[in-house]
């Protein structure tokens, strides 16, 4: 079982992802803004972070820079879940050194696969 933090401002998205994550036996925590996400990351040390790019305080890109600058989160996979156009997201993930992305709307199967893959890589 892994601890997964989802940083996302839209409650419907949080609810949907929570169902998938918990159904796979993982622990789920969420934050609806960057500052709370950062605080929870420091306090609870998630094994995986799911990150929306459009957040109301600092955006996902900036938050990922903060997280990656902390030694505690250097090896924690960060997966982007976003409604941004795919080409921009691909560039963003490459440039910011993140671990993968899914563009909304995404299938539940795709979400499960990307979570499993990221956790497996982290373990190995």
């Amino acid at each position: 079982m892994a601890r997964i933090l989802y940083i996302e401002d839209i409650q419907d998205n949080i609810t949907l992802v929570e169902k998938i994550v918990t159904s796979r036996g993982h622990e789920f925590i969420s934050a609806n803004n960057a500052e709370l996400g950062l605080e929870l990351a420091f306090d609870l040390h998630p094994d995986l972070i799911l990150l929306d790019l459009g957040l109301p305080d600092a955006d996902g890109q900036t938050l990922s820079v903060w997280l990656r600058s902390e030694p505690a989160f250097e090896a924690v996979p960060i997966i982007v879940l976003t409604a941004w156009p795919e080409e921009v997201v691909r560039h963003t993930v490459e440039a910011y050194g993140l671990d993968g992305y899914l563009c909304k709307p995404f299938s539940l199967t795709a979400l499960v696969q990307i979570i499993d893959s990221a956790l497996a890589k982290k373990t190995s």
């Binding site: 459009g54 109301p56 941004w84």
Partner: protein, 284 residues
């Protein structure tokens, strides 16, 4: 649909923020705000909330909003948004008409706005209201990463007042968010002046904004006074990112024909989306 247009000043920033975020929930480039950021936006870009509007339906629900920035003889229409369930019912058009009337009531004839490229419904609405396209601009991003290239030239780092003085000399058109008035409203403006060995010279004005953990760089305005813009631009950006190696950078409204674009791309900037600037010149 019957709607009532109410001055935005009658609502709290929190209420306006929640409405704005709801109007953008399915937007092609989702960029939600919180009340603090909206407050900064209102301050920095001279938004007049008494002349900005919220659309309220007969059932009492807020359905859309639009804001008006006002500076002497110019106005800027921004944050126009309508709830997804209410679109195609004339609310956006009514909000826009209200902004035009409010601007005209101040004697303002030059009204401008920006629309995200490929937002066809909004673009067509603005065309219908006699706005004309005046330029295309890129919104670019750069993740922090170390640079190994050697620095060149004589760099001088200027404080806010000096930076504003430099920006005042900018000969190029700047969009509303980067122009002198916006930068004057900000407390975090800085400038780098650079002279290269061959006499080439230029400057870079930017904002260095403190966030929770680290600052971010934004609102870049680059100008080459002498020499090759590609070379001068590259050295300006290189100096900036060596001075601030851990800063995330957001460059908004870089003109698509800006001669410094190759330098921006070479330094790791990539395009997020494009905006179309439109103006409406009234003769009334």
């Amino acid at each position: 649909m019957t709607i009532e247009l109410i001055p935005a000043e009658q609502f709290t920033l929190q209420e306006l923020t929640e409405l704005y975020n709801q109007t953008r929930v399915d937007y092609m480039v989702p960029m939600p705000m919180n009340a603090s950021r909206l407050g900064d936006y209102v301050h920095d870009f001279d938004i007049d909330l008494s002349r900005s509007c919220v659309a309220r339906a007969a059932d009492g629900q807020m359905r859309g909003l639009c804001m008006l920035g006002v500076r002497q003889k110019q106005a800027w229409i921004t944050r126009l948004g309508v709830l997804p369930s209410t679109r195609r019912s004339g609310v956006g058009s009514a909000l826009l008409d209200c902004m035009l009337e409010n601007a005209h009531s101040l004697g303002i004839e030059d009204i401008q706005l920006e629309v995200i490229k490929n937002n066809v419904p909004a673009y067509n609405l603005f065309l219908c209201k006699d706005f004309k396209e005046t330029g295309e601009y890129l919104v670019m991003r750069r993740a922090p990463h170390p640079s190994a290239a050697p620095l060149q030239g004589n760099d001088v780092w200027l404080n806010r007042d000096e930076a504003l003085e430099v920006l005042q000399s900018c000969p190029n058109h700047l969009t509303w968010i980067n122009d002198l008035a916006s930068m004057r409203n900000a407390s975090d403006v800085e400038c780098l002046r650079l002279t290269l060995q061959d006499g080439s010279a230029g400057w870079l004005v930017y904002r260095n904004t403190k966030f929770t953990l680290r600052s971010t760089l934004s609102h870049l305005v680059i100008h080459t006074e002498k020499g090759d813009p590609n070379e001068v631009g590259a050295q300006l950006l290189l100096n900036l990112h060596i001075r601030y190696p851990h800063h995330d950078t957001y460059a908004e409204n870089i003109h698509i024909n800006d001669p410094h674009l190759p330098a921006l791309r070479a330094l790791g900037y990539f395009e997020n989306f494009a905006r179309i600037e439109m103006h409406r010149l009234s003769t009334t």
